[in-house]
Every structure is written in structure tokens, then in C-alpha cells.
Amino acid sequence: MIPLLKRVAVILAAASFAGALVVAMLDLPAPTVHLPAAVEANMAASGVAHPVTAVLLNFRGYDTLLEVGVLLLALLGVLAVTGVRAAPRAVAPAEPAKRMLARLLAPLMMLVAVYLLWAGAIQPGGAFQAGAVLAAAAVLLHLTGILPGWGAPGPRLRVSLAAGFLIFLAVAGALLARGALLAYPPAQAGMLILLIEAGLMVSLGLILAGLFLLLSRDSGDEA
């Protein structure tokens, strides 16, 4: 238990910092640069119709490239820490009703994921969200005992985990070879972005699922 005095001090510090932030925010003038206008003006050349997707995959696609790297890196970190493990223990199967539900829900969620990916071009959605839904499906299957936890991933799984990022890199490299990094030709932009997003959906889904399936205690060697 933190002593009362310390607690009060922390609260006071946090409150005064928050207060200073609020005051500073209220004091702000209108921003000098207005980026949304620039985004609007270049939408036609971006290859997609949804501004968020345009920013994420095209205007600032480089940030996204590195962020995908960060996600893969997070998985690597987990893999490195968990070390060598024996084959994962089978999970005790859940009640039949729950398993039934899971078997039913999982394909549905995959369908939703693909839809989210497709919809990303024109409305909110995209590879991240689609991947997250895929991962959720995997977690559901795992928790009901249908999908076992992961030990050390084999070659095929490693390829699938890296595939999305590799496709992204390949596109970036190909575009760099003919000009600038990730400078899509407007005519092929939509197609290339969809290709990248499709790859990302699978790999991100696997990565996110992996974070759970590797760390979950069922795959652990404690017993």
C-alpha cells in the first residue's frame, strides 16, 4: 500500500500536469498547416476512396510499413523470451455447446474479416481491423479447445507470419527501384494497396493470434 502522502503527491502532480495541458490546449491558435485539405486534394491519385486508408497505405504508407515491422518484432520478442518448449499440451475441451458455437462463429468471423478488408477502400475498415477479427476467431477456437496453443513455430507458420510484411517490402522495393520508396503509379495504386492489405490481414491475424497462443498458459511448460 502506498503511503497516503505519496499518493496525494502523485495525484496532485498528475492533476496539475493535466491542468497545464488543458490550459495549453485551450490557448492554442488555429494550426498553421491544414493537412485534411491536402489529403482531400490528392484523394483521386491515391488509389482508394477512403481518406484514412489513403493516409495509412499511401500518403504515410512508410509509417505503416515500419509499424507492421513493429508488430512482427513484438511477436519475435515473445518468441525469444518463451524459449524452447516442448510440444504444447492439449487444452481441455469446453462443453459441446460452446464448441458448437465456436465452430459456427469462426467461419463467420473470417467472412467479416474479408469484408472489413474489402470495405477499407471506401469506408472505415482495413487490414488491421480485419487481422484483429481473424485473431479473435483464433483465440475463440483456442479457448474452446479446438485450436491448440503454439510451441516453436515451424517453417510454414513462419512464412505465413512474415508473408504480409514480405509482400509489403517487395512492393516497396519494386517501387523504389523504379523511382521513390512506395511511390505507387496512380493507375495501379488501388490494386497494389489491396494486395498489400490482403497479405497484411493474414499475417497480422496470425501475429496477433500468436501473441495469445504463445503466451497463453495452455501452451506453457508449467504443470
Binding site: M1, V52, L116, P124, G125, G126, F128, Q129, A132, V133, A135, A136, V139, L143, L208, L211, F212, L215, S216, R217, G220, E222
Partner: protein, 85 residues
């Protein structure tokens, strides 16, 4: 005060409260539950800020995946404690 502003203020207060409780509560299980509540409230907040993309991701990853993982960890801690002589 319009209804939407009232809702926003309430949401902000609830966010702060859940965050504080999650940090301050001594019971780990409760803390995790509060963390999930915090994630869901945050999803609402993103939605109110007209950022459905982020709301979706927050719900799936922030509340769902992370919450499940934390619950799992709490379970593992509990079983280890029970197993100890």
C-alpha cells in the same frame, strides 16, 4: 448543456475512474476486469471522436485480446499459487 456534451463529460469521467480503479485496486482479478471496462469505454470514446477504425481496433485488441491474455495470466498465477506447497 446539450445531451451529447453531458454524455461526453460522463464518458471522460468514467474513463478516468476506471483507469484509476484499475491501478489502485489490490485485487488483480478486479484490476483486469476494470482494465477491460476501460478498454470498452475507450472504444466508445473513439467512436464519439468519429474514428470508427480506431474504435474497432481498440475493441478487438485493447479490450478483447489483451483482456483475454491478462485473464489467462491471472489464472496462471492463481494455479501456480495453488500448486505451491
Amino acid at each position: 448543456m446539450s445531451a451529447s456534451l453531458a454524455f461526453d463529460l460522463l464518458l471522460a469521467a468514467a474513463l478516468l475512474w476506471s483507469a484509476w480503479r484499475a491501478l489502485a485496486t489490490p485485487d488483480i482479478f478486479r484490476a483486469v476486469v476494470l482494465f477491460i471496462v476501460f478498454g470498452l469505454l475507450l472504444t466508445l470514446a473513439w467512436a464519439r471522436l468519429a474514428a470508427p477504425d480506431i474504435a474497432l481496433a481498440e475493441a478487438a485488441i485493447g479490450a478483447g485480446l489483451t483482456g483475454a491474455l491478462l485473464l489467462d495470466a491471472v489464472g496462471a498465477l492463481g494455479s501456480r499459487k495453488d500448486g505451491a506447497p
